[in-house]
Point group: C2
Chain length 396, copies 2
């Protein structure tokens, strides 16, 4: 099969990965594909010719939701089948099924229902608490007892490569007691990962922490763009709103959780011990190396394993009151910072709130990348990038 | 036509109203209908037989979104046409198009994209600030400058009549410094109204305050159920989450904004003067009388006209940073309290945080109702009710 595609030595998209996404080519409709090396396997076309045990109609949609809703058993079997075929000399996969990635457009992979953002890195929460609130009580009393989270905006989540307009908003100038309306001058990124919910739960019922990963289809990179000055003025008492909801960017490929199984690790010790509904013996973190560049200059190297709260705990907490989740919901980790300043996941932290550096300038391009493993076992996420467009010249 | 339906003297559903909803009858699929007196006009069936200038397929969907997306000109013309027909002796409306309401099931009328909850009653914000924060600085510095809002959960919004399970959650017992996980014992309602977005805006662009009502299709009653003890422990710093997202209830009929035009009034004076992007000379409030009963006992009488921030201002603010809105998004007002304690819109306020009364008990039924005008000009919202089911006996 090697003549059908090339997997470069540093490719994110090895045979061990096989993430799902939505692509289109000139004159064709968006449909489901799988990234492999420098190609996209046209899963929709392949399935239409037979070979899978489900109705191929779900692959001819402009989002993954209906495919994901088939359940992990079905989607996992399809992926394993493709893995086998791509390894074999004799398989139904033909050149016409493999599209060059540079000839394809990648789309937002999921029709997102509800989007939740957590705040699960203890280093990030401590750094922000120190700057925005009391330096001596940076971590709030609830933080070690529950994975703090809030609801965000789904409509403004865009895919890698979509330009982001610098937002305008109310900010309180230093020393003033009346706000002004202006373009943010504290535009920031947040290095996050997000998981896509793969299974509906029932309103009024809970998802136990030990079942929670059954509800996680896969992961992507996520940039929760933030306007720090807008956020600071608005966020008390009901949380971030316009400081965050002007745009978030996600990577186009959803890496199924099973591809990340070899990289499962234990998270940091949780002290004090969490309440029983959040307790689990299963290691819930994943060793995924993350990097942020601004105009190709590396500004952060972090790792998803640093998270204090695991995805399973986030989901168990989210449903502990009976709140239901649905296929296509997106839950982001919150900024992923490490202890070392080189691992801080936002400019707020990297620049010490602007004291030792700048926030984002117009035309800056911010790109997140991430991968686990190496060589033929590398499981990467591709690119999650966006360029800043200047604010509109007048407000209204 | 009077033989086809009866409009009782106190009916919410006069010829001046004609709200849209989704209904089904035994053995038939959910579809679009219009409430009139004690009947539902089967708009889907009527349109299939002709007489409208749009494709009737949009009426054979289990949500109003595709109908709403046709635009106010089309939906308004359809409503006016129906109004004329229902007044005439000779019209295409036949007995087979008019279903008895007691024979129909009403469904959630809209497939909700993003749900935003505002906090726009100055009386409510002051009352809550007094109890949850500093009594002397009850209103936070930003409150009079912007309509404070936050993103809520769309998946758990249910229609009138859906039982609501008492949630469990983390609460901090008085005097303790470690939380426990238990059923809330401070379960509350919040009297709100919500509007349905009727038109998409573009990401990165704003909706001017004077254009904002073009983006509002119509209104419904909304109960933002709240677990006060859960909310109090979790809400700093990112806002309400599990204390709110276990359920919200909306009324089944969406009253188009044009039906409320006769009841347009000016809101309270805003002082200090708001920033230019929020300024408008058009009166933006609506005189809608609201009532809450608990087990048929009236506990609150309020009015939508009390809102400090208008819907137009909420929408202009929401999009002022370029955040896009989509057809089917829901934006709720926040609790609608008046100055007099008899007009407080939550038990938190009515009972002074439990000091002079109780929160909700298991099996209590809370019902919101509301209407503008009277007699043949009455425009009402029907019922927005729900009964409390006991918490599940064990957490997991």
């Amino acid at each position: 099969m090697s003549k059908l595609f090339t997997v470069a030595p540093d490719s994110d998209f090895t045979l061990a990965n096989l993430p799902f996404g939505i692509f289109s080519t000139a004159g064709s409709a968006p449909r489901v594909g799988i990234a492999i090396g420098d190609r996209i396997l046209d899963l929709a076309a392949l399935a239409t010719e037979g070979g899978f045990d489900f109705d191929s109609a779900v692959l001819h949609r402009p989002y993954l939701n209906d495919f994901i809703a088939l359940g992990k058993e079905v989607t996992g079997r399809a992926r394993t089948q493709v893995q086998t075929w791509l390894r074999e000399a004799d398989s139904p996969v033909a050149p016409r099924h493999l599209v060059r990635r540079e000839e394809a457009t990648l789309h937002l992979p999921v029709r997102i229902g509800d989007y939740t953002d957590f705040y699960s890195s203890i280093e990030h929460a401590t750094n922000v608490g120190r700057m925005f609130r009391d330096p001596d009580k940076a971590l709030l009393p609830n933080w070690r007892h529950l994975p703090v989270g809030y609801h965000g905006r789904a409509s403004s989540i865009v895919v890698d490569g979509t330009p982001v307009r610098r937002p305008r908003g109310q900010v309180l100038p230093p020393g003033a007691d009346v706000p002004v309306f202006q373009a943010t001058d504290r535009l920031d990124f947040e290095l996050e990962m997000a998981f896509v919910v793969g299974k509906d739960s029932t309103l009024g019922e809970t998802v136990r922490v030990d079942q929670a990963e059954d509800y996680i289809f896969g992961l992507a990179l996520f940039n929760d763009w933030s306007a720090r000055d807008v956020q600071r003025w608005e966020y008390v008492p009901l949380g971030p709103f316009l400081g965050k909801n002007f745009a978030s960017t996600m990577s186009p490929w959803i890496v199924p959780l099973e591809a990340l199984e070899p990289f499962r690790v234990a998270g940091p010790e949780q002290s004090p011990r969490v309440l029983p509904y959040l307790q689990t013996d299963v290691p819930g973190n994943y060793d995924i190396q993350l990097e942020v560049t601004v105009n190709d200059r590396t500004v952060s190297r972090s790792n998803f394993r640093y998270m204090y709260w695991s995805m399973a705990q986030q989901l168990a907490h989210h449903s502990s009151n009976g709140c239901n989740v649905r296929v296509g919901d997106l839950m982001a980790s919150g900024t992923i910072s490490g202890r070392d300043p080189s691992a801080y996941g936002s400019l707020l932290e990297i620049t010490d709130n602007g004291r030792s550096g700048s926030f984002l300038a117009d035309h800056d391009t911010v790109t997140l990348t991430g991968h686990a493993g190496s060589g033929a076992e590398r499981v990467g996420f591709g690119r999650c990038g966006g360029r800043i467009l200047p604010a509109h010249p007048s407000s209204h």
